[in-house]
Amino acid sequence: MRYAIEARKISKNFGKTQALKGVSFSVKENEIYGLIGPNAAGKTTTLRILSTLISPTNGSAEVFGLDVKKHPEKVREIISYLPEEAGAYQQLTGLEFLEFMAGFYVDNKEQRDEIVDEGKLISGLEERLDDKVKGYSKGMKRRLLIARALMMKPRLAILDEPTSGLDVIQSIHVRNMIKNYADSLGVTIFLSSHNMLEVEYLCHRVALVDEGVILAEGSPVELIERYGAKNLEEVFIEVTQSE
């Protein structure tokens, strides 16, 4: 079995605060894997480690066999990361933003244009892409950023709260976008969310994380059956209370 991600006992300390306490998990290639948990559970820290922004204090993590600590630059070539509170350059147009980002993944203009065309399609922003980002609504910005994260067809897309701050309609649009993209291109997606229903809809497998520890892991259906719950929200409450 080939794994897109293999995390082995990763822990992370920020001063005296222990954000992760020896977390281990693995994500298969072409899988959509979700981390769910409350605020300060360690989700963003895990995503930042996998996207090479920060290093684990202990343990190791590999992305497609590449150690994130030893080969961060190689890892960055095959991943794309969407932070929870990501923004885009306010003074650039949406199109200029996509072109700027695409330029780092390919050398020639033709390939870059192909990537940007894909980005235009994913974003669905059409002629608004010619406007400066500073005039975009929150939903438009998020769509632009998700298009940025997926347009170059990364082997692994790491999405932190992809529908954060979006209304119901925009959230559904973004979720469908992620699902269709992952299914059609076979991209591995590792995401985090507060939203249990979103995770239940999108993910093949999920891990419930709280206070830096994985409390349960499995497919949404498995977890719901295991805990005799109606949905993942109930599973989460069950798991955290039993802890």
Binding site: T52, I54, A86, G87, Y89, Q90, F100, L145
Partner: protein, 436 residues
Amino acid sequence: MNNLLAIVVKEIKELVRDPKILIGVILMPIIIFPVMGSAIQISQESVQRAIIGASFAVYTDDSGFVTDAFLEYLYNNNTVVPIEAVNLEDALRQFQETDSNALIYIANGYHENITLGQKGVIQVYANLRKLNMAETSSTDVVSSLINIYNYYFGITKIRNLMEDTGAIGTPEAIRSPISIHYYSILKGTVLDIPPMSIFTLVMSQSIMLPIMVMMMVMFAIQMAATSIALEKEQKTLETFMTLPVSRMTILAGKLSGSIVIAIAGSVSYLIGFGYYMNSAFSFVPEATTMSIDAVDIGITPVGFLLVGVVIFVTLVSALAMAISVAVFADNVRTAQSFTGVLITPIMIPAIILMFSDIEMLPQTTQWILLVIPYTHSIIATKAAFLGEYLVVIRSIVFMSAWTLVVLYIAAKIFSTERIITAQFTLGDLGKRLRQR
């Protein structure tokens, strides 16, 4: 290289399209300075016109040929309003009813004093109605007129005395027996030019270069800090740091983009400031008509190249320092307040060394200044003008070493997770101090 260029272009677009930067850094100096200069020029010209067209009043209660001769001189040289009054009090009342700004009062006894070989006293009254410059300058016009008369009157009296006594010499030499003639020795050559004239020339021409360097450094620091803080404020830094581009390329891109904007800002500042100086001080007569080449203190191509190197290392180190510090700010405002702290060690040596040489300062001050790397930028640009290339090279070596240290720190911050996790607020400082 493509990635670096893409980052530089993005940086320039981001900074130039930001109205705060476009207006504040590039457009304002080029607009505001000429406007200020024109305003000063208009007011100065109106003062000049008022002084030239001003008349003054004359009143005397004295009589005699010495007084008559002085009155004739005054009537021939200016617009004079004669005052006919019974006494000084009446004359002053009448004077205040005229448009004149000054009254010359030749007091009773003037003729007698002078004929007896004593000093004749003349009183000048200035009427300050609006307390403007034209009113106060009117007494200067009167003083000049009286001084000229005084000089020739003195010379005539000396000549008459010499003829009476048969003394040898000239009246001018007897009135002022010592004459000073100034020479300057510059790079071993004796020049028939007063040192003050050379100083004025060097100040007016070579001082612009260190000022430009400092302006550029300050603009660049602001740009670099803003550029990093914008990434944090716009929440783009995390995404940027996960792109397949080396952190050193990102750092170099940010430094280069900031340098381009800083140069644009400095050029705009210099154009605006040059226009301001020309228009604001157009009424001041030229101090010297010498050109800088005539006294052989112009900058040679080698000197120019060395100054270029000095500017480059100065800019790179200042920018790397600004970026390293700005990483700890989470928004543009905090970053700019941090840069205020950084600008201080650059400004202090610039201001001190603008007016004096390092050797002229007390030993302790010299050591303190020499520890500040940016002192060497000023020393080097000045030395380049005087052809002291060894001093320039020594400064370049020191500045380069400092630049490497700062770049190393910036690179360290960029290559580790500190770029993401570093955050510092004044609240943190307070908290840490309280903990101690």
